[in-house]
């Protein structure tokens, strides 16, 4: 389903080139609950961004459902993300002017899902993540854990085949982090969606059924 072959990503910082990801190759099958682990600055976020089509690889080949991500234009890439991917961010990234309900609904607007279907899906997802009671709350009126629950519901709204979560528990306390990971795991099982998340928290890593370790942008040998 996801296939990386010799993928590298370099950035220019001033005059010098920084190798964020170097020659990474692996495959992730449909339905996996995979963790990308590594210390800060090891290239976890960059790797997730590459898989999500947010950044283009400097070298190598990256296929999602057989489609080469590196060859897409920015707009084609947006269409691909809209249809196939869900995103969960470390800083939640909810739209502050929208309510919890409207945040979850937004990806469905992009897909032109009809009104009735939209309402049905958003209601069901908010119920699944335990946020039905706070559907009308703005993000500023929610706690960190609640915001992340809304973000998870948003990531699943478009029924994507892959959800990419960049350190989804980094800004949460231990108890809330456990709850969020448990929720992600449950949704992974219920929806059969592939979830790839990055983390450097050993307790969270234990929950993954597939582990990809990164060190200085390279796959670490176990």
């Amino acid at each position: 389903m996801i296939e990386l072959s010799g993928v590298s990503k370099d950035y220019l910082v001033g005059q010098s080139k920084v190798h964020a990801v170097s020659d990474v190759s692996f495959e992730i099958a449909k339905g996996e609950f995979a963790a990308i682990a590594g210390p800060s600055g090891s290239g976890k976020s960059t790797l997730l961004n590459l898989i999500g089509g947010i950044e283009r690889p400097s070298a190598g080949r990256l296929l999602v459902d057989g489609q080469s991500i590196g060859e897409l234009t920015p707009d084609q890439s947006a269409l691909m993300r809209r249809a196939k991917m869900g995103f969960i961010f470390q800083t939640f990234n909810l739209l502050p002017v929208f309510t919890a309900y409207e945040n979850v609904e937004y990806p469905l607007h992009l897909l032109n899902v009809p009104n009735e279907e939209r309402r049905r899906r958003v209601d069901a997802l908010l119920k699944e993540v335990g946020m039905s009671e706070r559907a009308d709350h703005k993000p500023s009126q929610l706690s960190g854990g609640q915001r992340q629950r809304v973000a998870i519901a948003r990531a699943l709204a478009a029924q994507p085949s892959v959800v990419l979560a960049d350190e989804p528990t980094a800004n949460l306390d231990h108890q809330t982090a456990d709850e969020i990971i448990a929720l992600m795991k449950k949704l992974h099982q219920d929806h059969g969606v592939t979830i790839i998340f990055s983390t450097h928290d050993p307790r969270i890593i234990e929950q993954a059924n597939r582990l990809i370790r990164l060190d200085s942008g390279r796959l670490a040998t176990a």
Partner: protein, 410 residues
């Protein structure tokens, strides 16, 4: 409401103080436009109406050929008995007065000094409805029962040192070339918008002029309307009427008269000023709000990244920020138009006392005319400036790299 529009509308009220200041700038610009435009429309309108009422009339009807040959043969194209014709003309829609006119150049003396004059001879009874009370400086208007009472232009009266009640002698060339004179009384002194006219004009009953010049009838029939914009329509109706009656007359509308250049020149000057004001206001609004629009983009870079990560295409981001600009334009335009209308009503209620313009000794009270044109211009400007100010920031937002924008999320 489409999702981009909803997002844009909510974002407007996110930073209320900043939005309020932006709306104030846009609204003030629109209101200023209404005031400036309304003042200019009123000024042009007043100059036009005063000139038409005091000098031109809306329409002048001549015997065919007068306009070409009248200067050489001023009495060669006289209209004889006008009573029947005037009745038919007066029955036309929009006509409020119609009367015979006779014009000629002659000499006026006070015993010591003799000066040339231009006479407007008319039937006071028929033009009673259209006399301009503001033009009376002293005495009274020419009366039907006082055939030897004349009105002098202010400048002419001053030059001859004549006051109301004084006597003077008028000299004129008769139709056959001889000289004739008439003793007259100064019944009144008038002032029009044109000092040049007032320096040499006399208004007198047409019977006096006919007696002095030894002619019958009139050189033209002057027609006054209730609405200046009806001029061309009435002209066509009259031409049809004359054709049906087999009358060989020609008609000159006010804007076709050589003396109307004072109106067109004034209009041109004021319209140029209005154009400059529009450009200044346009630039002022754009430069004032472009920074606000830029700030709105800069402080939402992270959000733009999120929207793009969720699958929003570049044109979606562009639409969102342009919708924000448009919403500010609509809100600012509506508020500015409302404030402009209110101000216009208040200013008009008080009136702006204006000094006499160059070439005139007539002071006047200006108002702010509220016309659909000025309102539409003000609203369109508010909308256009807000839209234009949002285009560049919106474009910049839409061209952001998703990863870079997400990294700047806080």
């Amino acid at each position: 409401m489409p999702v981009y529009a909803r997002l844009a509308f909510r974002n407007i009220f996110r930073n209320r103080m900043r939005t309020l200041i932006t709306l104030l700038v846009v609204g003030s610009g629109a209101a200023a436009m209404i005031i400036a435009g309304g003042f200019i429309v009123d000024t042009i309108s007043q100059v036009r109406e005063m000139t038409i009422r005091d000098r031109l009339g809306h329409l002048r009807i001549y015997k065919n050929g007068f306009l070409e040959q009248g200067v050489l043969q001023p009495y060669g194209y006289m209209i004889g008995d006008v009573t029947g014709l005037l009745k038919e003309i007066s029955a036309q829609p929009h006509v409020i007065a119609a009367g015979p006119r006779l014009s000629y150049f002659g000499l006026i003396g006070n015993g010591d000094l003799t000066l040339s004059f231009f006479m407007q001879a008319f039937d006071p009874a028929r033009e009673d409805r259209v006399r301009n009370t503001a033009s009376l400086v002293a005495g009274e208007f020419t009366q039907p029962g006082k055939p030897f009472d004349v009105m002098l232009g202010e400048g002419l009266a001053k030059a001859l040192n004549l006051r109301v009640g004084d006597s003077a002698v008028l000299l004129g060339n008769t139709e056959r070339g001889g000289m004739n004179a008439a003793d007259v009384n100064v019944g009144g002194i008038f002032r029009t918008i044109s000092s040049e006219f007032d320096n040499g004009a006399i208004r007198a009953p047409i019977q006096l002029a006919q007696r002095l010049l030894r002619v019958d009838g009139a050189q033209m029939i002057i027609v006054f309307l209730d609405r200046t914009d009806a001029t061309d329509g009435v002209k066509q109706n009259l031409l049809r009427l004359f054709k049906a009656r087999g009358l060989d007359y020609e008609i000159q509308a006010w804007h076709e008269m050589p003396e109307a250049t004072v109106i067109t020149t004034t209009a041109r000057v004021y319209e140029s000023i209005y154009r400059v004001i529009k450009i200044i206001l346009f630039l002022f609004i754009i430069l004032s709000i472009i920074n606000t629009m830029n700030m709105a983009v800069l402080e939402r870079v992270g959000e733009i990244g999120t929207l793009m990560a969720l699958g929003t295409q570049r044109r979606g981001i562009l639409k969102m920020f342009i919708a924000e600009g448009m919403a500010i334009g609509v809100l600012g335009g509506v508020a500015g138009c409302a404030a402009g209308c209110l101000l216009a009503i208040l200013i008009s209620a008080v009136g702006i006392h204006m000094p006499s313009p160059p070439g005139s000794s007539m002071e006047w009270i200006a108002h702010i005319a509220l016309t659909p044109g000025t309102l539409l211009t003000a609203f369109a400007m508010a909308l256009a400036t807000s839209l234009m100010a949002s285009i560049l920031p919106a474009y910049k937002a839409s061209r952001m790299e998703v990863g870079e924008a997400l990294r700047r999320n806080i």
